[in-house]
């Protein structure tokens, strides 16, 4: 609640010229968006970002914003008079916008009087306006847009922006590779702390601290520990780890705006036969998904390849909606882009990035989590993380760990077992 107005208007103008690579990336984005807008007959585009979906605003600003609501106003015309403007309900975001320097003008937005946005929008006299995340726009703000443009048509531009963002540039891929390095470090921190008696939420605290130390801006993370009874993952619980538990996680740090995920499972102590067989099944499924990945295939194709492995061994029912259907999803400025799921006929283009993860429950060892993020290339998938795909285990606190304490570092022990054979998974 504001107690006193600011003494000067909360505005910021663009910083000095961008680095040439950044300038080229911004120009590329503007062109891609304008081309898509032309196809859909849009005179202006508004990117709206609620607190949990800031990807489209980030695409235009390259700034880490924190406001409850933020916007970018992007005109179809590239003329000098048609500036790209950004708005946030949080004035602390203004220095970030200015420092990034990707927009021509930035200002604080009052959610109850959003004239800072609606007045320049009205000046554009648009007839058809696309709003990215119109589906999430609060009535308070939607009504203000309609009042400002009583004769204009407001349509969703969410799908348009999803398409525009799907193919990653070299500039973006460089950032995603930095995210990949943090994924690997986060997983290492995860394995390093596993020991009997440790509560799940303390694992999360240690992982968060490590990836933030490395520069992660945010993280999405699900976790579950236990045995065959585990059916899915959630936020962490106070449950303390026990010897023999399998600890599963989806770990998704965000670096420089870009999210990337690693999915792994680790055992506290020596893995059981069921856990080994489960790993083999899931690993074969991941491999099948990767073998199907090339430009022009659909999300359905990649999901089906993974599910066929489960079906081959008699575990097909665990790929249904009763358990988990999603076999991966796109990555980028949003962590959960195009779903990799049977029935999704979205074509995967070259330089799309997504994770292949057949995570689901089976009776072999309960919910299992395994997956790698990949880039689609003409030569097949490029796996973006260096972390080995294996069934990790920790020896800390176990008899094996005590026996090996003199020679081996604690945690992150190599999986010593011989693969149990894929046939046995059936």
């Amino acid at each position: 609640m504001t107690s006193a107005p600011s003494r000067t208007p909360g505005t910021a103008s663009r910083a000095p010229a961008l680095d040439p690579a950044d300038a080229a990336e911004r120009a590329l984005r503007h062109q891609k968006v304008r081309d898509a807008m032309a196809e859909e007959g849009l005179d202006a585009l508004i990117a709206f970002a609620p607190g949990w979906r800031r990807e489209n605003v980030r695409y235009f600003t390259d700034a880490r914003l924190t406001g409850t609501a933020s916007f970018v106003l992007f005109p179809a015309s590239g003329s000098a008079s048609a500036e790209v403007c950004a708005f946030s309900t949080r004035r602390a975001d203004l220095p970030a916008l200015r420092a990034a320097g990707w927009v021509d003008h930035a200002a604080v937005l009052d959610a109850h009087d959003p004239s800072a946005l609606t007045e320049p929008l009205r000046d554009l006299r648009p007839r058809r306006v696309g709003v990215a995340h119109l589906e999430l726009l609060p009535g308070l703000l939607a009504e203000a847009l309609r009042r400002a443009l009583p004769d204009a048509e407001l349509v969703s531009a969410s799908a348009l922006m999803d398409r525009v963002r799907m193919v990653k540039s070299d500039w973006e891929l460089a950032r995603m590779r930095r995210s990949a390095a943090v994924c690997a470090a986060g997983w290492q921190a995860f394995v390093d702390v596993l020991e009997p008696g440790l509560p799940e939420y303390r694992i999360v605290a240690e992982v968060e601290a490590e990836i933030k130390r490395l520069g992660a801006e945010d993280n999405f993370m699900l976790i579950a520990s236990g045995g065959d009874e585990v059916r899915g993952m959630t936020a962490p619980t106070p449950r303390s780890l026990e010897a023999g538990d399998m600890v599963r996680t989806e770990l998704t740090p965000q670096m420089d705006g870009y999210w990337l995920q690693i999915c792994r499972s680790a055992v506290v102590g020596p893995p059981s036969d069921g856990q080994r067989r489960s790993f083999d099944l899931f690993n074969e499924s991941v491999e099948a998904g990767m073998a199907a990945t090339r430009p022009g295939v659909t999300a359905h194709d990649v999901a089906k390849a993974q599910n066929d492995v489960f079906r081959k061994y008699g575990y097909g029912e665990y790929c249904t909606s009763k358990y988990t259907r999603v076999r991966g999803h796109g990555h980028g400025l949003h962590l959960d882009e195009t779903p990799i799921i049977e029935g999704n006929e979205t074509v995967l283009p070259e330089n799309a990035v997504f994770i292949i993860h057949p995570n689901t429950y089976t009776p072999l060892a309960g919910y299992h989590v395994l997956g790698d993020p990949v880039r689609v290339t003409k030569d097949g998938p490029e796996v973006l993380i260096a972390t080995e795909r294996k069934l990790f285990h920790s020896d800390k606190g176990s008899s094996a760990g005590r026996a090996g304490a003199a020679g081996a570092p604690a945690g992150a022990a190599e999986e010593p077992g011989t693969p149990s054979g894929k046939e046995s998974a059936a």
Partner: protein
């Protein structure tokens, strides 16, 4: 993002208090002649739903349906696979999952006589969701309701105050530690994450900003159970005139945070200090109720004349856009009491408590369901 600990502990919030929260809303519904209230939440802002049920929307969206008489039902886009966990950590027994709220609401309305549906805090609902519900509930009147739940949250109960004190000690200590040591920006954030999440918080948001003169602003907002606290500190600015002046302004604003005082009163109290800030500084004084800290109060009407309620917990902030483009903020969470403001996140408050946090002390204590208690007390 919500990826921390979710706990339902009757030793922290008695079972009857949860029932009273829903009952209080239902009384208002009777007054308003509303048959069914719907409360919307998403992963970013779902505190009304958490207040009523302890549900955590860790991803996506949800709608809590509260009938004028009967048990609440949670409608969610989250998978049924997480229903067992949701039931375990909340007071809700019926949860319905689906891809569209309209279909879920229609299913809920089956067999009921059409009546009036009230949308709590309607202007903040995504407009398409409202349209979807309207289409799915033919014959029902959809009516906008004000922030009935948030109003009830404004003055915390004694149980909530106890939790707030605990939370504030942790957040205050984390902010002090992160800002007090010679650390890089990322290490400051890591320090806060380890302390706050390690103490069993559900959520923590750490923002840093470059100020000027090499100083850095560290802002910590944490959610412990269903409650929020906030503290902001300046690192490396102790020797600068403007940082001391900003601290003086915050001290004056906090001292003015008494029942009935308005935002304008806080600003007036801080004014003499703010006037000493460097020319060109754009400074302001704000307060945000802990009920609105998830969104920093940005969806609340920006009025200067709203009085502080006795018993409310609020974050008082003095922030400044500094000449040259830097940003700095100082803030503490304050309990507004008849005897004056109690600064919950003040420096040294951790030392005043019964014990240091488990993260800081290296000791872990557990509650009835095994959750760590940052204040070290036992639920046994």
């Amino acid at each position: 993002m919500k990826r921390g600990l979710v706990v339902l502990d009757p030793d922290e919030v008695p079972t009857e208090e949860w029932a009273e929260r829903v009952g209080g809303l239902q009384s208002r519904l009777a007054d308003e002649r509303v048959d069914l209230a719907l409360v919307y939440g998403d992963v970013f802002a779902s505190d009304d739903i958490a207040y009523l049920t302890n549900l955590c929307i860790y991803w996506n969206e949800g709608v809590l349906a509260v009938p004028a008489d009967g048990e609440p039902v949670f409608l969610t886009k989250l998978s049924p696979r997480v229903h067992p966990w949701m039931r375990r950590v909340s007071t809700v027994s019926r949860i319905e999952s689906g891809r569209q709220f309209g279909a879920l609401a229609a299913k809920l309305a089956e067999g009921r006589e059409a009546g009036t549906v009230g949308l709590v805090d309607a202007p903040l609902w995504p407009e398409p969701v409202v349209a979807e519900l309207r289409a799915a509930l033919p014959g029902w009147e959809l009516r906008e309701l004000p922030g009935l739940v948030r109003e009830r949250r404004a003055v915390p109960s004694p149980a909530e105050v106890a939790l707030l004190r605990t939370a504030a000690r942790v957040v205050g200590e984390a902010a002090d530690t992160a800002a007090g040591a010679v650390l890089g920006t990322q290490d400051r954030v890591a320090t806060v994450e380890r302390i706050v999440r390690g103490a069993g918080f559900l959520d923590v948001q750490v923002n840093t900003a470059d100020a000027t003169d090499g100083a850095e602003c560290v802002q910590v907002t944490g959610q412990y159970r269903t409650l929020w606290v906030h503290a902001s500190r300046i690192a490396g600015g102790a020797g600068t005139d403007w940082a001391g002046t900003l601290q003086d302004a915050l001290d004056r604003a906090v001292a003015a945070a008494r029942p009935g005082a308005t935002g304008a009163d806080l600003a007036a109290a801080a004014g003499p200090a703010l006037d000493r800030l460097p020319a060109g500084t754009d400074a302001q004084v704000t307060w945000v109720g802990q009920t609105d800290l998830a969104s920093a109060g940005e969806y609340r009407p920006a009025t200067a004349d709203t009085p502080l309620a006795a018993g409310a917990a609020v974050a008082v902030t003095v922030d400044a856009l500094l000449p040259g483009g830097g940003y700095a903020a100082l803030a503490d969470t304050v309990l507004v009491t008849a005897d004056g403001p109690e600064r919950l996140t003040a420096a040294g408050s951790a030392a005043d408590g019964e014990a240091a946090t488990p993260a800081a002390s290296g000791h872990d204590t557990t509650s009835t369901n095994g959750a760590a208690r940052p204040d070290g007390r036992s639920a046994q």
